[in-house]
Amino acid sequence: MIFGLPVISVTIWLPIVFGILVLATGDDKNAPLARVLALVGSILGFLVTVPLYTGFDASTSAMQFVELHDWITRFNIHYHLGVDGISMLFILLNSFFTVIVVMAGWKVIEKRVSQYMAAFLVMSGIVNGVFAALDSILFYVFWEAMLIPMFIIIGVWGGPNRIYATMKFFLYTLLGSLLMLVALIYLYNLTGGSFSILDFHQVAIPMTAQILIFIAFFFAFAVKVPMFPVHTWLPDAHVEAPTGGSVVLAAIMLKVGAYGFLRFSMPITPDASHKLAGIMIALSLIAVVYIGLVALMQSDMKKLVAYSSISHMGFVTLGLFIFNAYGMEGALLQMLSHGFVAGALFLCIGVLYDRVHSRQIADYGGVANKMPVFAAFFMLFAMANSGLPGTSAFVGEFMVVMGAIKINFWYAFAAASTLIFGAAYTLWMYKRVIFGTVTNHHVAELTDINAREILIMTILAVAVLVMGLYPLPLADIMHVSVNDLLLHVAHSKLPL
């Protein structure tokens, strides 16, 4: 309880209310007020998630902080919220990144400031709703509503090809969502009239139906992750999105898809999940290896990091579908870590873009001479992206590889190759951008990052290092929930 209000509801609605307040400041005359209000809203939004962490009981896999109210009684739909060890950390991650994004857009966004800030705040609340919803229709409402602010963010503040990118983003994700909706309604009828996700977990489903439901969910979640071959929206959306948009896409949006697999696909259709695990693993490995190679060839920094995200998310889906504790916990840690690392890399690229207005690697060179502080931070994040031990990325990747080797050596072999490719494309990019001699007058005129940017980078750097050196508290939180999920998935749900 926060001031007598239920915690999760506050984490959802507080940012949304602040978003509306920010929107009410109107046009750009009041931009300073809008910025301050947005910062206050996002910081408060993060602070109210802290009780979730401090009050969390890691010894149970049951849902905690549960809120249950009638919503649409006619269809037995409830306002049902709660978190477990799988979802809780993502709410924190999301609220944390909202603060970062507001700070990152502080000076850079000059047109329609209030709308920009409001869109991010509203989205922050909606995404918290996605992670906390225990009623599938409530989940669906948040899930779809999430698209609207992102659609606007990319479309208004994005790069030159933003319209194409944002339309593609919206329609691609809508395709998956609509199929999921059909599956949810089907399950509603199967359970005899309940939309509760927890009831879906218990209901027996025949094999054919399981496979069809799995496919419907697959479309919804795989598009969001994104998995090969439905990943093509991501590079477009990332490249065209403003820095804040890219950060949120990478840090939050992609996690929502993997979370969907954990919360829906695997527990609701365990038999289909096992049956189709081979395909999922294959697609994951293709993403890891092939997309890693694609990343190597990029000349656009944002595109490179976007492809690297897809490749890293391949690790996550691989970890999920090998069905052991190493893999799953590794996947979850990888999701958290990737949020920080990819978010930080996009911020770094944003720093360069704000000054030079180019994302082409070829337009840079010798940046270290002009921006030594920035180069140091960038180095850390680049190393983290290549999976250097001691950074957060290493923990997750290592655990997934450990999990995979128990199943099949070659899975682990293919997955581990990313440690080479990842290092190759990230460090090669780093070398071309940062090192060498100053190549052109744009670079020569660069100024190093200011106090605001240093603050953002420091926070992220600390997070990456702490997670890398001491991941135990995080693993502890998810441990019981993950084991329970694995136990649940191991039992067949076919009707007797």
């Binding site: 669906y140 339309m167 309604i185 009828n189």
Partner: protein
Amino acid sequence: MNLMANIIPAAAEIFLLAMTCLILIVDVILAKHSKFITYALVQLTLLGCSIITVGTHENNVVYAFNNMYVDDLMSDVLKIISYLGMSMVLIYSRQYLKLRGLFTGEFMVLALFALLGMNVMISANHFLTLYLGLELLSLSLYAMVALQRDSAIATEAAMKYFVLGALASGLLLYGMSMLYGATGSLELGAISNAIMQGVPNKSLLAFGLVFILAGLAFKLGVVPFHMWVPDVYHGAPTAVTMLIGSVPKLAAFAFTTRILVEGLQSLEHDWSGMLIVLAIASMAIGNLSAIAQTNLKRMLAYSTITHMGFMLLGFISGGIEGYGSAMFYTVVYMMMSLGAFGMIMLLSRAGFEADTLNDFKGLNQRSPWLAFMMMLLMLSMAGIPPTVGFYAKFSVLNSIIQTGHTWLAIVAVMFSLIGAFYYLRIIKLMYFDTPESHTPILVGSDTGLLISINGLGVLFLGLMPGTLMSICAVSVQQSLLLH
């Protein structure tokens, strides 16, 4: 049966008729510049009708005039919503009509006659009453489309509407006469009983059903009987388009329910198969054609076709769930359509119609509030939560999956995906593009307030859809399953 027992169920319609005639006379006496009095009288009439409808409500189904007329919960709910809708149409269009010299007594009287026709259709329990209501509605609409006498495009639209409408009425009458031949009655209950007991001439029944369905499909504007819709929507003055595109859909829903469910329920197996074809064709052609439109009114016309196709899915699944969801869908559609056409009229000025897509370019820079309202309306039409359009689609999909037509639900959502594109395009134009003109938008306080209520209503009902859903389900349940 005594007179009062007959009059009470129809009291609202009788009042409406009397008031319309009175307004017709008052309007002739009034000077040209004092049409506001007529307008106020019309609004008062609508208010009076609502009060009478609520006041004469009975908990059970009441028949009047030798079973030709029925007063049940469904008819009361639909009537009250149609008064509300008509009142909104008039508020939205007042300024627009004034600027075009169409703010005349004729417009308002015709609108009231159209409303009377709809209410008769909603309450009809007999083929003759149904037909009477339908013709009263249609004839009023034909005249309204042609109201702008010197506009060639409006005249053409009226002509087309009239000719095709007459053809459809003919089909309908022909079908009715065949059913009469097969069952020996024109009363819906009696027809239903006769069919249940077995009809000797099956082929006559089948032909009758086909003709009636064709007539219905024409009035609903579903493929392949949709040809008139885009031209009429485009050609008519926007105020009239708004009227055609909103409130009569309620009557069309009632009309379909009365004939197919109350009269021909036992042939459900036959007509639901035909409806599947109509529904899929409408969703396909409506959505695909809407993409190619550059005129917003035409685009909304194709979107109507799609929405009506989607609504038919509710009929295909049947039962309280199905009919209730179809009713909910229709009510929600009326609300969205009022808002969308209202927005066109808000942005129009004297001598300028804001009816092309380009007129919406950069609306967010000209008026962020209006752009936001339009965004809500478009998202609702696309069926994206948290707007009410989502629940409309959701309840129809639910009913259809419940009856085991999961494949049909998948087809429907795939076409919704295509539909989402052209609604999103409007949002894209408003938010991402730069405006073509910077003419200030003059919004009257009444229309400004109404569009805000309309837009926020779509959002509010999206957050709290339960009550309206239940009202629709309960009224269908009480009206259709008691006999």
